[in-house]
Amino acid sequence: MKISIRKIGLASALVVFASGLMFGFDFQESAGGIATALGGVVLDRDLGGLNALYNPTLIAATLTNALSLQADVCGAYQPYGVDGINVCSAGVTYARSLGLFNAGAGLGFQSELAQGGLNTIRTYLCLSGDFASFSRLSDLLGFVDNVGASLNIKTVTYYLDANMTGTGITPTLVNFDLDADVTASFINRMLEVGFMGSDLLAGEKGFTGASLSNQRGLILHGMVQPIHDLKFIAAYNFGGSSEVIDNDNFVGSATAFANSYLGMEASFFDSIFVRVGLNEGRLTGGLGIDAAGFTLNIGVLPISSLSLYYQIDLNYKFF
């Protein structure tokens, strides 16, 4: 009973915390059905192969067997119903146990294709490590389950799919950047808290030499799982652009919700998942089905003036 009360209390505290702040991620990066459904909180555990893109720490941190290999593809055909724009992603992760230490790696690919416009190709190479039995190191830290860290090396290549003659620019642009994350789990992994820095170099340059910085993300993220079938996850981006989405918000004015993201997932028989979320105040939702090693996830973000944004992903866990 004591544990249950503590779990519920922690969950409530985190929900209140998240509701008061709010933050999210960029939907133009094809993030898959889970993240879309959960309001853009991509820092949830177990994104499958897409961990290579968004939270490599989890590649090793969530390793439950001696080995793990997962692949994931996702995308959306003409999201928002806009002709000529398509997004897709793919990722593969591999992890293995080395005793007290788990090691993982991943490769990811992401593209945004706009006919006659700007095409973006992102690649990800990530390394992940995790002290799976951190508590054994010190009795004083017995409530800590594990601590993991990751480093993600990214390239972003832009192609201008148009006749730009006379503009004096080269139609191809390449940038590099890094993500890093530290995440710790507590109380039998009932609580998870982490801090992530995304695009740490913030050194992207534009076609005209303009700086594309100010995109650095400093993200506090957390997850509470008070019972097996229910998760609450949240994130806040201290380094976000604080872009206020002044339309289509569930809450009206989104000022208080800028850069804040909240999600909730309920599972049934460990094979059916129902997800809802808030992406900077905008309601999201989705479903997931797990069968025969495959997981199919659909996430939607309805925007009245743009119609539906959606993401579909398919994950397969080899072992």
Binding site: G84, L160, M164, I169, L230, E243, P302, L306, S307
Partner: protein
């Protein structure tokens, strides 16, 4: 846990609904639109065979079992057109009327099948072909004085006409039958309805006055050349009456229970709508129509009992403001063909039967040109570089007949966040021109003429957000939105790219 899951599913369902279709509130003023080539059986809508003025075979008939006053039985109003605007599926309580004109909230009359009611108008049917307009109104009269009347009122949407039938208004015309009085002064005030002409019919319940009809144009309407009504091949001059064609009929076999219910049918020349208007005005016409019952004959005074479509707010006997009674019918499709569609007023709801085509989605042509504000160069591409002095000229060409009201353009990023909103209205600097038929024109002061085809709105985006800073590198979505005169919105999306 299970409850949580169900709630989640419900939330997902709710938010997965495309809520671009606005819902409306009325539960009594439904109007069903039926279209040609759609297999419709009136019986499916709850009608009995002898209640269908427009039969399942798409023939507008006199009600069965009846003869007209001259002993001519059978159909007199064959319909060959493609369009039907028909009355609601509900037989009861649609054109509802208080049974007490001093208590507008007392409207229980129609709840009784056996009550001889008080001027309720329950149904209004309208259809037309290339020559004639056919109308049928089912109403219920009682003996509230001689000369219970029915009026069909039309507003051609030209901005002319009168809004006040409340008293002795010279604009309506002198009553030639009652010298010194004015016609049709029935204590009606309109809102958003400027009556151009009307058809009046009357019936004497005691049989002493067999009933007549006439059409009156509002005399202050420009070029009032249509002061005649043509009914059953008889031309009736303005302000005269026909004694050979009166238009009330018992409408079904229920007359023994509802002896005062009537169906009025009328046929008049479609030129009544078009005379005096330019081709463009005709092409873009959305006429409005109201049916109402009045008492007191054709002369001044008398009561107004009911309107159809229904007056949702009830009637104030002292100030019969007609605020939500009319419905609007697009007249053509812009090419001279009769158009399909109907827009009820305010709270009313339109129900489109399966197979119907909505007149709410104008075919628009969107395009973009890069415009270099420094040197005036223009390139046909949708990529622009603000750092090089470039803006993007976002254009949308809207067919004239779409009658789009206040179109606007909003720039979204791919997160779905609003970056900038550009509005096409006076004083907005982003709008540099409106092009009509290829000529730059100030649309606000434009006098429409025949041959106008489309309006092109130009929106110039300099790449800055609403905060005044240049937006990030990326693809964006330009979303045009507008509302047609049908009252329903439309959107058109167009991708563009900002380069930094």
């Amino acid at each position: 846990m299970r409850i949580s899951g169900i709630l989640c599913l419900m939330l997902l369902f709710v938010f997965s609904i495309d809520f671009s279709f606005a819902s409306t509130a009325s539960d009594r003023s439904d109007i069903v639109v039926q279209y040609h080539n759609f297999s419709w059986n009136g019986l499916d809508a709850g009608w009995q065979a002898d209640e269908c003025l427009i039969s399942p075979t798409n023939t507008l008939d006199y009600p069965l079992h009846l003869t007209n006053r001259n002993g001519n039985a059978g159909s007199i109003l064959p319909v060959t057109s493609d369009q039907y605007v028909v009355s609601p599926v509900y037989l009861e309580n649609w054109g509802e009327q208080t049974n007490n004109e001093f208590d507008p909230n007392d409207d229980v009359d129609y709840a009784s099948e056996t009550t001889g009611s008080h001027g309720d108008v329950s149904e209004l049917w309208l259809t037309w072909d290339s020559t004639w307009v056919y109308a049928a109104v089912k109403a219920e009269y009682d003996n509230r004085g001689s000369g219970v009347c029915l009026m069909l009122m039309f507003d051609r949407g030209t901005g002319t006409g009168v809004v006040d039938f409340s008293g002795a208004d010279p604009a309506i015309g002198l009553d030639t039958l009652t010298p010194g009085t004015f016609l049709w002064s029935k204590g009606i005030y309109f809102r958003n309805f400027n009556c151009d002409f009307y058809i009046g019919t009357w019936y004497d319940y005691n049989g002493g006055m067999l009933g007549d009809c006439q059409l009156c144009a509002i005399t202050n309407f420009a070029n009032p050349t249509f002061h005649q009504i043509i009914i059953e091949n008889e031309t009736v001059a303005k302000d005269t009456v026909s004694t050979t064609n009166y238009m009330d009929r018992y409408y079904n076999l229920k007359e023994e229970f509802r002896p005062l219910q009537r169906v009025f049918t009328v046929k008049f020349a479609i030129s009544q709508f078009t005379n005096g208007l330019s081709a463009s005005q005709v092409r873009n016409m959305k006429f409005k129509v109201i049916a109402n019952t009045v008492a007191g004959g054709t002369g001044a005074g008398g009561r107004t009992f009911d309107f159809c479509p229904d007056n949702l707010a009830g009637m104030n006997p002292d100030n019969k403001s007609v605020e939500d009674n009319f419905f609007t019918v697009p007249f053509t499709d812009g090419s001279g063909n009769v158009l399909m569609g109907v827009r009820p007023c305010y709270d009313a709801t339109v129900q489109f039967l399966p197979g119907s085509r909505r007149f709410t989605e104008p075919v628009v042509d969107t395009s973009a040109n890069m415009t270099n504000l420094n040197n005036g160069n223009v390139a046909s591409r949708r990529i622009f570089i603000p750092a090089n002095g470039e803006s993007i000229d976002l254009k949308i060409a809207i067919p004239v007949e779409a009658n789009v009201l206040s179109p606007s353009l909003t720039i979204y990023n791919l997160r779905g966040a609003v970056v900038r909103t550009l509005v096409a209205s006076g004083g907005i600097t982003e709008i540099i021109q409106q092009t009509i038929n290829g000529t730059n024109t100030n649309i606000l002061n434009y006098n429409w003429t025949a041959g106008d085809t489309s309006v092109t709105y130009h929106y110039i985006w300099d790449g800055k957000t609403s905060a005044g800073v240049v937006a990030p590198l990326g693809n964006y979505i330009a979303v045009y939105t507008g509302v047609t005169e049908d009252g329903l919105g439309w959107t058109s999306k167009f991708p563009i790219t900002l380069v930094r």
